[in-house]
Subunit: 271 residues, 2 copies
């Protein structure tokens, strides 16, 4: 393992962890450029769970795995496309090479690369890159969360206005009744849901039952921006339990600490 | 009026109308560049109806009005920000300088410039430009609809799969029960709803009660891509009635002809 320590500085991208976050950002941008090169030009095919996958998903995961294995050979890696390996290690990378594949193949604009690292089963570091916006969201092992060079914070409001918005899933209308007094939008990209809550744009997000690669990077960024995540029933999340590929036991609400319970109260499971 | 006739050709942008559509596309791109230059850097303020407006909205409408008045001095113009003028003319331009202002100020990626022309109260020509995607959707007075150089057609399917999607509004959860068997997404940009239906990406869209500037360009593009628009109750739209600034009397479903009734059946007004 290459410990770069806290002295390393590269522009605004100051590394305080065992991992060189500036380099991880470069990998995410490289991955995003690859996805962009295939955008509107790629065929999609179905996976066993009937969700879509493209050549971009598989090539990006391969590229990220190659970088990680070369730089951090003792770390474990789990990814959406190629599965789980060495999850007993202290550091485990959790990759969604192209989060929002369906939005991507629909010609929509919000999709991206999500790279999270867990340390001893806890979110340690996160980088999410949204290529068409050229927005890189990131949080190191310590300190604040950022969009590019701009520091992020969840929305400080304690009330919900009719112009405020909640990010929801694209199947929410089939599974939940949502009585949110503002707007709802489904981006079809869980990583982006975390970004828009972390920057204080969305007040919260209803994250459907997710896998670790969907949320690993986002959870660290959310936490560093002052946000919290609870299951719909109010339970805290046990991230370590997801390392074997299991999904979360229930949907999750992410938001500021002061609004989480209020937003949970707006969402009921449809009978 | 400068009639450029059917001989004029400029790349793939062949003009068959009284209006030079290649030039209108250039105006839309110029407007999009202006919007992009303010993106993530602009303050929003509220209009009388509590919706948002930014410096980008007002500057773009001013720019478009200047171009139109110089080139087509005998045409009427109605725009979202500066209102209605000379709507008794044969040609009336209907402008939404920045459709999706709320998405724009939320840092989201789908918003754009919508320029429609009516002739004798009917959709005549439409150009919609989505800057972050660099996608220009357009349809001339005759012929097909295009995204850049690619010809568009509504989705030919007659069945609805769980991976198909319906575009909805960001207040839909408060006003309607939607039993669509696929996905739903709210882009918060009515012009984009028309584009994604016209290209066959979304199967349909539920357009909330709209003003003419929201739908003028989109209706021509939809029609040229083989799509149709009906009120939720099944009524045909009377576009001429909207020239005085009135909103549509009810929400509208846009889709292919074969799915419109089926989609209308998925949407009920909430009690």
């Amino acid at each position: 393992m290459i410990a770069l320590g806290s002295e390393r500085e590269k522009g605004n991208r100051y590394s305080v962890s065992e991992i060189d976050i500036a380099e991880v950002q470069d990998w995410a941008r490289e991955a995003g450029a690859l996805a962009k090169s295939y955008f509107n030009r790629v065929e999609r095919s179905r996976k066993a769970d009937r969700s879509y996958v493209t050549r971009a998903d598989t090539e990006i995961e391969e590229m990220l795995r190659t970088h990680i294995a070369a730089q951090y050979p003792q770390h474990g890696i789990m990814g959406e496309e190629q599965g789980i390996g060495a999850i007993d290690r202290e550091f485990v990378w959790s990759l969604d090479p192209l989060d929002g594949t369906d939005a991507y193949t629909s010609g929509l604009a919000v999709w991206g690369v999500s790279i999270g690292v867990l340390r001893a089963g806890k979110p340690y570091l996160g980088v999410i890159y949204l290529p068409l916006l050229d927005d890189c969201y990131w949080a190191d092992a310590e300190g604040a969360a950022f969009r590019n060079d701009e520091r992020l914070a969840v929305n400080p409001t304690t009330t919900i206005d009719s112009n405020d918005w909640l990010a929801i899933g694209s199947y929410t209308h089939r599974r939940f009744m949502v009585d949110f007094p503002g707007k709802t939008r489904s981006l079809s990209c869980v990583a982006a849901d975390f970004c828009y809550v972390a920057r204080g744009s969305a007040l919260g997000a209803l994250i459907p039952r997710a896998s670790l690669w969907d949320i690993a990077a986002g959870l660290r960024i959310l936490e560093a921006a002052g946000g919290v995540a609870y299951g719909l029933s109010g339970q805290t999340l046990n991230i370590g339990e997801l390392l074997d590929g299991h999904k979360l036991p229930e949907a999750v609400i992410i938001s500021s600490p002061q609004l989480n319970e209020k937003i949970r109260g707006c969402v009921r499971v449809r009978p």
